[in-house]
Symmetry: C2
DNA sequence: ATTAATAGTTATACTTTTGTAACCATTATT
DNA sequence: AATAATGGTTACAAAAGTATAACTATTAAT
């Protein structure tokens, strides 16, 4: 790793640190204002929309949520009938979670609702900046999703008490 | 706003929603583990490193933090001697905040500390992906910083009781 | 001069998030 | 068969963020 790359990494991290509160406030605020769900359970929905079936542990692993917290969040989603438990025939300890049809429909609407404020801001951008934002968020997402979740590494990294 | 642009906006928002928990867990966890500060006060430092001087209200405005909360967070930073109060000669109601030398040095070290875990992951990327991540985080940051903070709009949008 | 508005603080209550320890049921190991 | 490890739950405590009302000091408006 040479000097130029080290400087790049510093800058990347600085960008991410700066970016986070901007996203955080906007998202959590509108999630709370416009849905009955809390941010955490919504992120589980997001993860389930990318991975059709996940066990409780896998959810905790991918989102870095301690296991007891996963139980609570999923309970809320089940109460709303947005996800369902599937019992694993091969290992009766495992409980798999999958979105229901209702969950997918609701999630779609929720995403539109919570994005309303942000949408109004984004709509003011000119075509060129819109394209840039589109491409760059996609790239950040792809790369971070690759390195930040632990799903690509052996299960051992997720076997802690979380 | 045509259909293609609408679809782009949907996708951008989906990307940001997905991105958020990935950043959130990693950052807040290491902030707690490696500093005496809480995430909120660190975000204030981040904002002050981009805007040399900000009043209490402007801080709350830019980070969407209610005013009483700003007081508490800044108090913590002052206790650590990382920021200082400057009294405005033109309007004695206003208290401006600026990072101290110590604050800048500490902040630099803190950033390195909390980025350690993330750095290890980013370092595994090949040169090409590193460059892409560098450019795209920069672009997301520039554009979001433009539209997500209220600093570009008339003060009226920040004069609520926050 | 009086009133209204602004900047910031104090105090309080509340919700959300986070962390941890102990526990049960099931499966794997020896 | 006994023990250890895993997946998940329950329960509780601590930390952080959020919201609101009431207050002081200062400035602006009439």
């Amino acid at each position: 790793m040479n000097d130029i790359e080290t400087v790049s990494i510093d800058k990347i991290i600085e960008n991410l640190i700066y970016l986070h509160p901007l996203l955080s406030k906007s998202l959590t605020r509108s999630i709370r204002a416009k849905t009955n769900l809390n941010p955490g359970s919504l992120y589980i929905l997001g993860m389930l929309s990318k991975n059709e079936i996940l066990s409780m542990s896998e959810i905790g692993c991918k989102l870095s949520i301690p296991k007891p917290h996963v139980t609570g969040q999923v309970d809320k989603l089940i109460a709303e009938e947005m996800v369902e438990r599937l019992f694993d025939p091969h290992d009766r300890r495992i409980i798999n979670i999958r979105m229901t049809e209702k969950g997918m429909e609701d999630f779609k609407i929720i995403k539109q609702d919570i994005s309303k404020d942000m949408r109004e801001r984004i709509e003011k951008l000119d075509k060129q900046k819109l394209d840039v934002l589109f491409d760059s968020t996609q790239q950040v997402r792809d790369i971070l999703s690759e390195i930040m979740t632990d799903s690509h590494s052996p299960l051992t990294s997720c076997n802690k008490n979380q």
